[in-house]
């Protein structure tokens, strides 16, 4: 059965003198090589240049801070239980007096680890989060030499206070509408002075 017309029967006839000199073949090869100098390169000069990426690309995670710079995560464990790869490990702790500017609510994650080798970047943690704390971003996970370095702790996951990461494009209309409901404690900023004592 013949599938294509590209079949060539190998001939074992002796090379002629001109062919044994290889000069025409060398010239032909050089011409192909030289022609590539004038063609557009199919690769790009990463990481100096990057390709355009979707704003909703599911890449490296970020743990968001709120408007005051306090961490939003309350260590509720919804992301860890939703994670199909079991890549997330959380240890919770209680906020002490005087730490209100660091943590938004009375409980926070003292350790939040994502194993980037286990993570499949499905985005279920982002869906599960009730506090808008974890988001996937359009950044990539860096290459490392050691496997341990792929276990990202809070120092790599929490956004830097002076270098915020914009995630507004990832938020769906339903979430934005929910945030407009007044009176929901979820939507109002925590203010310890406002605590009413009956």
């Amino acid at each position: 059965m013949q599938l294509t017309n590209r079949k060539v029967v190998v001939s074992h006839k002796e090379l002629s003198f001109a062919e044994r000199m290889y000069l025409p073949a060398v010239a032909k090869g050089m011409a192909i090589t030289l022609s590539h100098l004038f063609k557009k390169s199919p690769t790009i000069d990463y990481p100096k240049k990057t390709r355009p990426m979707s704003a909703t690309y599911r890449g490296r995670h970020v743990l968001k801070r709120d408007e005051n710079g306090a961490e939003r995560c309350v260590a509720c464990g919804m992301c860890a239980v939703a994670c199909p790869a079991e890549a997330i490990t959380i240890v919770a702790a209680e906020r002490k007096k005087g730490e209100e500017h660091l943590y938004r609510e009375e409980k926070y994650a003292s350790s939040f680890e994502i194993n980037m080798l286990r993570c499949i970047f499905c985005g279920l943690c982002e869906d599960a989060c009730p506090k808008e704390a974890i988001f996937l971003t359009d950044r990539l996970v860096d290459a490392e030499f050691e496997r341990e370095d792929f276990i990202y702790g809070k120092e790599k996951l929490v956004e830097k206070i002076d270098k915020r990461i914009d995630i507004t494009k990832r938020q769906t209309q339903a979430v934005l509408d929910f945030k407009k409901i007044p009176g929901l404690r979820h939507n109002t900023l925590f203010d310890p002075k406002k605590q009413v004592k009956h």
């Binding site: 309350v74 239980v81 919770a92 009730p130 404690r185 605590q195 009413v196």
Partner: protein, 327 residues
């Protein structure tokens, strides 16, 4: 006495309440409860979650009762006909009750330790709305330490009075009750008095929400990351029959054994609950049978096997099981 609940007739002794009769039939017709607790006398009648419609008062007087009644406080009459889940009015009324219970309840399930085994959470999920119509600030309280083991967070309290009944009926000196009235009512100890009784820890178990919590377990982990195991020990004060909640090899929490209605079988003492947190203290009887729909069965592989068996059984019943032809 014959009573018909949702079309199912059952014979019950005199003095049985509608709720108890419904529980005898099974969980499909039993109304949900937030304040009623079968082992605590005079409990019930506060939350109105268990309301049902009585369409026929008795065989002698077949007139319907004019309003929905609290099934935990209404005794059955011979020939009574009750509608619970089959009556749309009851479900609508219960939805209203749930909305009222949630009016001052904070939306802090992600923080609360009770989440995952919270009766109010289940109730809100089954009957309530996904959104709220309440636009005013909810009442908030400071957290109070009641002794070295128990923390009271009144913000979450729904005033079911169960803990008050425990303090009243299980402990010898009652120092804990409800002060003020109506909207201002709150659970309190007498001028921040400390509850120091061997059975005071049971207020944690009876609390349907996360208002009274175990300080030794507080914020340690979410309940669905722990694995429940039935265990017992020789105890002079109580029966010693408990449930241990493991995370890895570590016992994070000890509670009483809860039955299918979420009520503890035996009240346990504080020594068993708070001080015995080593495996060597206990005689392990076996894993707790967790409902596979419960979040507590998440990530536990023994339940996965159970699930597989059930799927297999269903497939067999439907007749499309594949016969393994390999030798």
């Amino acid at each position: 006495m014959k009573v018909t609940i949702d079309g199912i007739t059952i014979d019950v002794p005199k003095g049985t309440t509608i709720l108890q009769a419904a529980r005898m039939i099974g969980p499909e017709v039993a109304p949900p409860t937030m304040c009623y607790y079968s082992s605590l006398k005079t409990s019930g009648g506060y939350c109105r979650t268990c309301i049902v419609k009585v369409t026929q008062g008795s065989a002698a007087n077949p007139n319907p009762m004019p309003k929905p009644v609290a099934s935990c406080r209404t005794e059955v009459m011979d020939g009574m006909v009750v509608e619970n889940v089959t009556n749309n009015d009851v479900l609508e009324a219960r939805k209203g009750v749930v909305e009222f219970l949630l009016i001052n309840h904070p939306l802090d399930c992600p923080v609360c330790d009770q989440a995952g085994e919270c009766h109010l959470q289940d109730l809100g999920y089954e009957h309530g709305l996904a959104t709220t119509r309440y636009e005013f600030p909810r009442r908030e309280f400071d957290k109070i330490d009641i002794g070295k083991y128990i923390k009271l967070h009144m913000t979450r309290c729904i005033l079911c009075y169960r803990c008050v009944k425990v303090a009243d009926q299980l402990t010898d000196k009652r120092v804990h009750g409800v002060i003020h009235r109506g909207d201002a009512a709150e659970i309190s100890t007498y001028i921040e008095n400390v509850i120091e009784n061997d059975f005071s820890g049971n207020v944690i178990d009876v609390c349907p929400v996360g208002a009274l919590t175990d300080k030794t377990f507080r914020f340690k982990t979410r309940v669905w990351f722990t694995k429940p195991v039935e265990a017992s020990r020789e105890c002079k004060k109580c029966t010693g029959r408990v449930r241990l909640w493991y995370k890895g090899d570590e016992i994070l929490r000890v509670t009483g054994r809860k039955d299918q209605w979420g009520e503890v079988e035996d009240f346990i003492c504080n020594e068993c609950r708070f001080e015995k947190k080593k495996t060597s203290d206990w005689k392990i009887e076996g894993p707790t049978n967790v409902n596979r729909h419960s979040v507590i069965s998440q990530n536990h592989y023994n339940n996965l096997n159970e699930l597989k068996l059930q799927v297999l059984k269903q497939q067999k019943a439907l007749g499309f099981i594949q016969i393994d032809k390999r030798p």
